[in-house]
């Protein structure tokens, strides 16, 4: 039996890392001025395609690459529709969500009904590669060690991606150009930045990152295909809210994941806390679990309100978000 607090911290990370992938992926896309509401569907496609490729080759590396490519292709579709063909971004994003989740069921059902059935994870090399391993020394730190340094490789990859993305936005020239496009594509265009190329590249990479989050859910939070139960299960939508919470900063996305994760975990672990500390925390079980599910969104609302009330515009929201860029309109 693990110490209840260690377990709490551990679960915050294990069950909420997909939010970090979804959020950082979406931030990259939104920084280019595009609003992609297709996170849920993109994650679903990355999840199911990556999982199947991984199961076929029994390799986590292949699973990650294929997942990234598959969801990247969804990003390519989104870019083609919204950047080249100038379709409405909201509608396209929603269509991708519907399409992606249906694609997940389509492939999953077909495979489960086939003779060989859905490929099982347990006992495979893929399972071993994706499961938690302990980082020497660090994982021995009391209390935090187990919670922070004994996870699957995809957990660390998610954190590394978030940090690299933050550096990319802040410290590099392409990152600066990308942010310029998000704020004012016309101005960026006049300075010789290839708006369409930048949008395409970053939408594809952002979608690929989301797909990895979906793959993580397949490998570490699901593994069996259950007829009426999608792995992604709303995490994509929460990610979109988390982008606002994080104020379009990948670094704050890390913090936001922990905050959302804290309430997500509290929703489940409130009973365990109340059981371990009946006198001080016994009241936790009296609160309906749906209140905990609602809390992160209430906090997001408050963040939105306070950021729009402040006199200086400190918001990280790209000014041109959601609007397609017509060069002729410039």
């Amino acid at each position: 039996m693990l110490d209840v607090f260690t377990l709490f911290l551990f679960n915050i990370i294990v069950y909420n890392i997909p939010l970090l992938y979804g959020t950082t992926g979406e931030i990259m896309i939104e920084k280019s001025g595009s609003l992609n509401l297709g996170v849920e569907g993109t994650m679903a496609i990355g999840a199911v395609v990556g999982y199947l490729a991984g199961a076929k080759t029994d390799s986590l590396f292949v699973a990650c690459v294929v997942s990234f490519i598959a969801s990247g292709l969804v990003g390519l579709l989104f870019s083609f529709l919204t950047v080249t063909l100038q379709a409405n971004q909201n509608v396209t994003g929603l269509t991708i969500t519907t399409f992606g989740v249906a694609f997940y069921y389509f492939i999953g059902n077909a495979l489960s009904n086939s003779a060989s059935g859905w490929p099982k994870l347990s006992g495979t090399r893929l399972d071993v590669q994706s499961q938690a391993f302990e980082i020497p020394l660090l994982s021995k730190i009391p209390f935090f060690g187990k919670a922070l340094f004994s996870h699957g490789i995809l957990v660390y990859l998610g954190v590394i991606i978030a940090i690299l993305m933050w550096l990319y936005f802040k410290k590099t020239v392409p990152g600066l150009k990308l942010r310029a496009i998000g704020e004012n594509p016309g101005a960026a265009d006049s300075l010789g930045v290839n708006v369409a190329l930048y949008k395409y590249t970053h939408i594809i990479i952002g979608s690929g990152i989301m797909g990895l989050g979906g793959l993580y859910m397949g490998l570490n939070m699901g593994g069996t295909f259950e007829g009426s139960n999608c792995w992604i299960n709303g995490y994509g939508w929460i990610s979109i809210a988390l982008v606002i919470f994080a104020n379009w900063s990948p670094a704050k996305a890390l913090l936001g994941t922990l905050v959302f994760g804290f309430f997500n975990t509290l929703r489940v672990q409130n009973a365990a806390l109340a059981y371990t500390f009946p006198d001080t925390l016994g009241w936790l079980t009296k609160i309906p679990s749906h209140f905990f599910s609602a809390l992160p969104f209430i906090i997001t609302l408050i963040v939105l309100i306070t950021s729009s009330l402040s006199s200086k515009n400190k918001s990280g929201e790209p000014q041109a978000i959601g609007r397609n860029y017509y060069r002729e309109d410039r």
Binding site: M1, L2, V4, L7, N11, Y15, L77, F80, L81, T84, L85, Q86, A87, V91, T92, T95, I96, T98, F99, V101, A102, F103, Y105, F106, G108, N109, S112, N113, W118, K120, S122, M221, G222, G223, T224, F225, E226, G227, S228, N229, W231, N233, T265, V268, Q269, N270, A271, A272, A274, Y275, T276, T285, S289, H290
Partner: protein, 403 residues
């Protein structure tokens, strides 16, 4: 021009995904031609007919197998409207569609279809309406059907009880969609706990309520909490996915699944699972409706069967079960099959002896809730069926809900 192309592509994408979601409702239908001689079956599902596990899957399997039993061809004689939410208007539309297809009997599998079924049964007096899990009916062409799944859960409880005895750990966990809010979940938890205690009188069942029928991540975390914090050695479940069993497998404890033999998902953990054989009912209902539709309500009527009819059962005991389990389960099963004893009565079973000589003993003992209220006096008869299906809202002794 660009706009035009984009609209076409977006429309094509939307249409494709709508079709994929709807699961091609008409795939099994086609145009029936409406000849009077053939018998046609209609079914309304809450999820997709292409599901590979879960509630709709179990019913769809039951309908198709039941049809084969009575000589009907599911590819030709079955009309399905699936993904129908519990919304009166949508259900009515689905019924109209099936009536238009010429269906002679229409099954609805979800509780919330109840009002639409009652209303439409009046509108189409020549069609038989059959509604699962509900409580409404009329005396001519509208019945409801359900099964004594609690009997199967009692048997699973016996398997769990032996496991906890062998491990010397009295803590048994139960991941449940709902707690005392629904009689269906509540009676299942109680029956399972009574099965555990018939073997291990000191067994304690801790219930974790996830407040939804299915959510893989919640089911996983609930099972983890029950194992890590409450030290449970067996995890039973009443929820959609097999995640609680998979977690039990990962953590080296044991479990009882639900709806299907989850030994495939959790080979080292799974003991046995309460299962439904819906084809038993569907074959009975279709046969009666084919042969003598006018007397459907006297021949089939309100259908509530259990182990005796084979409507419910447990999946084959896995090799993870303790050696005494098989005999004890057979003993209890026979008592219930013969109608000599039932779970929620003033008589308790207790099992003793080792493998090869397991004996069952009946003792008079009151059925008492976990806060001390007496439901059935010692030696008294079983509670009414209406209580088990509709109004049971208490846990029996030995059960606690943790959240």
């Amino acid at each position: 021009m660009k706009k035009l192309i984009s609209m076409v592509v977006a429309a094509a994408l939307a249409v494709t995904s709508v079709f994929a979601l709807a699961g091609c409702s008409s795939a099994n239908g086609g145009n029936g031609g409406g000849s009077k001689a053939s018998f046609k079956v209609g079914a309304i599902y809450i999820n997709s007919q292409n599901d590979t596990s879960g509630y709709t899957y179990a019913h769809h399997k039951g309908v198709t197998e039941g049809m084969k039993k009575v000589g009907l061809d599911p590819a030709k004689d079955l009309f399905i409207v699936d993904n129908v939410p519990e919304d009166d208007e949508k259900v009515k539309q689905a019924i109209d569609q099936l009536a238009g297809n010429g269906c002679n009997i229409i099954f609805g599998i979800s509780f919330g279809y109840i009002n639409a079924f009652e209303e439409k049964a009046k509108e189409y007096p020549d069609i038989i309406f059959s509604h699962a899990t509900g409580y409404l009916s009329n005396d001519k062409n509208f019945n409801n059907y359900f099964g004594r799944i609690y009997q199967a859960r009692y048997l699973a409880g016996i398997a769990a009880g032996y496991k906890s005895l062998a491990l010397g750990n009295n803590n048994i966990g139960y991941v449940s969609a709902w707690g005392t809010e629904y009689a269906e979940t509540c009676s299942g938890i109680n029956a399972f706990a009574m099965g555990c205690m018939a073997v291990n009188p000191d067994a304690k069942v801790s219930v974790y309520e996830i407040s939804t029928w299915g959510d893989q991540q919640l089911e996983r975390q609930a099972a983890e909490t029950l194992i890590d914090t409450y030290g449970c050695c067996v995890i039973a479940q009443h929820c959609d996915s097999s995640q609680p069993q998979i977690v039990a497998n990962e953590k080296g404890v044991f479990g009882c699944g639900y709806n299907s033999d989850m030994t495939t998902e959790a080979p080292a953990a799974h003991l046995t699972a309460p299962i439904w054989n819906w084809d038993v009912y569907y074959a009975t209902a279709m046969k009666a409706a084919m042969e003598d539709p006018a007397n459907f309500m006297t021949k089939v009527g309100i259908y509530y069967e259990g182990l005796n009819a084979g409507l419910v059962d447990i999946s084959p005991l896995s090799s993870n079960c303790e050696p005494e389990t098989k005999e004890a389960v057979e003993l209890a099963k026979n008592l219930m099959k013969n109608g000599e004893w039932d779970v929620f009565s003033g008589v308790k079973l207790s099992f003793s002896g080792s493998a090869g000589s397991v004996a069952v003993e009946k003792t008079n003992a009151a059925l008492v809730t976990n806060d001390g209220a007496e439901i059935v006096a010692a030696g008294g008869p079983s509670v009414e069926d209406g209580v088990i299906t509709g109004s049971m809202n208490y846990y029996v002794e030995g059960v606690t809900q943790v959240n």
